[in-house]
Symmetry: C2
Subunit: 153 residues, 2 copies
DNA sequence: TTTGAAATAAGCATTCG
DNA sequence: CGAATGCTTATTTCAAA
């Protein structure tokens, strides 16, 4: 992988806060010419160092009233069970995030839903009625203290 | 809050996948004119229905080698302890996400770091040496099965 | 090659019917 | 709301280092 210099990093720091800054605005902030910034952005996107550019939607606007963190333990079912579970999570629109982790449980999910009733349906369908799932613990989010995708650069 | 019609929702669905689509491209996909799309986007951003527009950076490019999910239990310290902890998490660049939750622990963190050594420093400084923290459990992420911010619309 | 400035193309934002 | 248009921004080109 090609090394990033301090100016690349600075650009990435800015873009992960706001990717609608113009190349001119960016150029001023990092002390480069507009075309230098332009070239760098093209390169960063080509190399998939910038993986994606997305809008963040307000949960309330999407009728998301409840967010839960769900810890899941699977039965010992070998790697097939794990892969099946991963695939199911990737397919579910409610599951924003899913991590396969070490420790006292196997998966951590971040799940967004309209309301608790909807969560009940969700958990019945994907967790309770799922023969791979041994147990799960639900934690309702009271405060989304911080929710970013920003990485330390 | 103002209602979103199906076309607004469609626009938001598209933008939370890719916000670099041009207003022309969006217009074709949702069967509106370019200027109609333009008006809607301006409104959605003004009303903060679109909260932000950001670039997603590849973890490897940011030298993020380890992601952990950390469950934290605080001592009974009233709301002051909770607020202090929230503030500390908001300040930390390593903490991408922090949720205050119901259930068997108080907070869930998603933490990004260069390596385990770095995580040790982090946990010492923000967790072990933090008098508010009673206990914490660390889960190392083996597979980032799904990591999006997309909401179901 | 790599750089910045200028020219060109593309996209955004506004006006008007 | 959509069509037309002026304005802004992105992208390409090109000359110089």
């Amino acid at each position: 992988m090609h090394e990033l210099d301090e100016q690349d990093k600075q650009l990435l720091r800015l873009l992960q806060q706001n990717n609608r800054l113009t190349t001119d605005q960016l150029a001023k902030k990092v002390n480069l010419s507009q075309s230098a910034v332009q070239r760098r952005l093209t390169r960063l996107r080509e190399k998939k160092i910038i993986e994606a550019d997305v809008s963040i939607i307000a949960p309330a606007a999407a009728s998301v009233g409840i967010t839960c963190v769900v810890d899941v333990i699977l039965h010992e079912g070998g790697s097939k069970a794990v892969d099946q579970f991963k695939a199911a999570m990737q397919k579910s629109v409610e599951v924003a995030q899913c991590y396969y982790v070490t420790g006292t449980y196997d998966f951590v999910l971040i799940v967004n839903m309209r309301d608790m009733q909807h969560f009940e349906q969700f958990s019945k369908k994907l967790l309770m009625d799922n023969p791979n799932v041994k147990h799960f613990y639900t934690h309702v989010v009271m405060d989304r203290v911080k929710s970013s995708y920003a990485l330390p650069l």
